[in-house]
């Protein structure tokens, strides 16, 4: 019962992701204030909080889209605070975006192929991939894993919203991910698509940990083992899902509105 909390607060030498005192300022506005989080390898965690709580900013600091104003970020023990985003990605960090960030002019296959190529050698290759190119096979496997084989030659701009969300996830699974940040992957999905999403998340290999931002508690609490509540750019509460769900302060702050 207390072990999760202990593990959460432990200064993990073997942590997958370790944030120490991360603060991010936008001018005078502090989007994140002194955030300290430790996530074990393979741990699956939800980040909850109202709009403006700093969840997406937290992701942007971790991936380097916006570097933190102060504090340090360690990824599997390595200090990545000053790394550009692509260096973090090459080390096994992945993310998805809240608003699909895809390449609308390219086909589904090309999108996934780019993701596979980005985390392997030959990014500047002037030679087209042949029939037996290993990355082409990886691409096809990944396209199938997110159920997009039927539309793999279509341009992404022509896809339905749900399919774009699935592609968004496929891009984050390319290569050998060690830790993934999912930013509201269920946004705008139908109930069926949500079930598929849960299936994809729960079937990820056990060594891949993730943090998921999700407003839908039914999705979030089914796929994680720990929860971090954020409020006004600060960590508000941490614990296992049931504990957080039943916490009166949390209910007042966040869950109350959705669970009448």
């Amino acid at each position: 019962m207390d072990s999760v909390a202990q593990r959460l607060s432990a200064v993990g030498a073997g942590a997958a992701l370790e944030l120490r005192g991360v603060t991010r300022l936008f001018g005078a506005l502090a989007a994140l204030t002194d955030v300290t989080i430790t996530v074990r390898p393979g741990e699956r965690r939800a980040v909850l909080g109202s709009n403006g709580a700093g969840k997406t900013t937290l992701f942007n600091c971790i991936t380097g889209d916006f570097p933190p104003s102060s504090g340090t970020i360690r990824f599997f023990g390595e200090d990545i605070t000053q790394f550009p985003p692509y260096e973090r990605i090459r080390r096994g960090l992945r993310r998805t975006y809240q608003i699909s960030a895809l390449f609308p002019g390219l086909t589904v296959q090309d999108n996934v192929y780019l993701a596979c190529r980005g985390v392997s050698r030959g990014r500047f290759s002037l030679l087209r991939p042949g029939q037996n190119d290993a990355l082409m096979h990886a691409t096809e496997t990944l396209v199938q894993a997110v159920h997009l084989t039927a539309v793999k030659d279509q341009r992404v701009a022509e896809l339905a919203h749900g399919q774009q969300r699935q592609l968004e996830i496929a891009l984050a699974l390319a290569g050998a991910p060690r830790f993934i940040l999912f930013d509201e992957p269920a946004a705008g999905l139908s109930p069926t698509e949500r079930r598929e999403l849960i299936e994809i998340l729960t079937s990820l290999p056990a060594h891949i940990g993730y943090i998921i931002i999700e407003h839908d508690m039914d999705v979030a609490l089914r796929v994680v083992e720990s929860v971090t509540m954020m409020h006004n750019g600060r960590i508000f509460k941490e614990g296992p899902p049931r504990e957080i769900e039943s916490d009166p302060e949390v209910q007042e702050l966040y869950l109350g509105a959705g669970h009448e």
Binding site: D65, A101, Y113, F124, A145, P205
Partner: protein, 361 residues
Amino acid sequence: MSLLQSTQLRAEPTAAAARRAFIRAWPELQNPAAWLVALILVIMPVIANGFFLIEIFGTTLILGIIALSLMFLAGYGGMVSLMQLTIAGFAGYMVAVFGMSGNANISLGWPWWLATPMALALATLFGTLGGALAVRTEGIYTIMITLAIGAAFYYFTNQNWAIFNGHTGINTVATPNFWGVDWRADIAFYYVTLGVAATCYFAVQYVSRAPFGLALQGVRDNPRRMAALGFNTNAHRIAAYAFAAFIAALGGVLQVWNYRQISPGSVSVGACIDVLIIAVVGGITRPVGPFIGAFIFVLLRTFAIDLLVKFGLDGNRFRLLIGLGFLAIVFWSSDGVIGLWDQWRRSGKAATTRSGGGRHG
């Protein structure tokens, strides 16, 4: 189902799939019009006299190559560079400086097979450095910084006498002459130009579907996501400038062999902008666009003067025609002449399906 580990999915590469992939990779091989154009270009020396061969088609191909380098950057990379002609001109100057010319005090007198690679290498380096500056900016600032590089080079060549021989430029530049062939003779030079143009065209077409070109299009569409996929987007952009600079340099070498002289007028700001006009008029989404644009540009430049004089107007107004044509094409098509062509074909197809449906109804 276990994600990431299901590797049983080895799609049998059937002959049909391979054929489809091949067609997708080289669409022009399926296009009878492309074969016809290729045939006409190859037998051109039989049809056209020396004037048409060099002044019209040779010049078109050379300008097309230079505009192709802009098409690659703008179409696939979203970077409008106005210094592509400057890079070409730099390569031309280097051919004149390292090779042989009438200005013996400047030219080092290297044989062409040494001077040409040197010129290509230096011009590629020049374009890469310019690109490294330009990638720090986006959109209109890229245009401004590359235009500034072009303008600076123009004024530098005007004022520097030690290397660039000031406003008189370098004259009587030697051209290759080996295996008993004068490669600047009309027919031989036409084939050299055609060969280089075709190679550049297919190289751009090929690279656009290679990892480098695909990633460049990704950087164009969404640089932030590309970084989040592991790509160093700035390095990719600079590499694109290097690739484009090499193509522009090839065009520049051909240009200096064509005119046998080079002077600041060849690298003026106006000429830089002409390359942009050529690319935009032709269309920047496909490599064929710059060549179509160059053909229109050269035809107008050559014949508009006579036409205007015939109508009792000042022949020097031919730029007015080019400008009006530019306005008209940009007004009616977002993608130059090839955009108009696509629109026309689509409306034709729509009309046939409509009439077909009418018969059934």
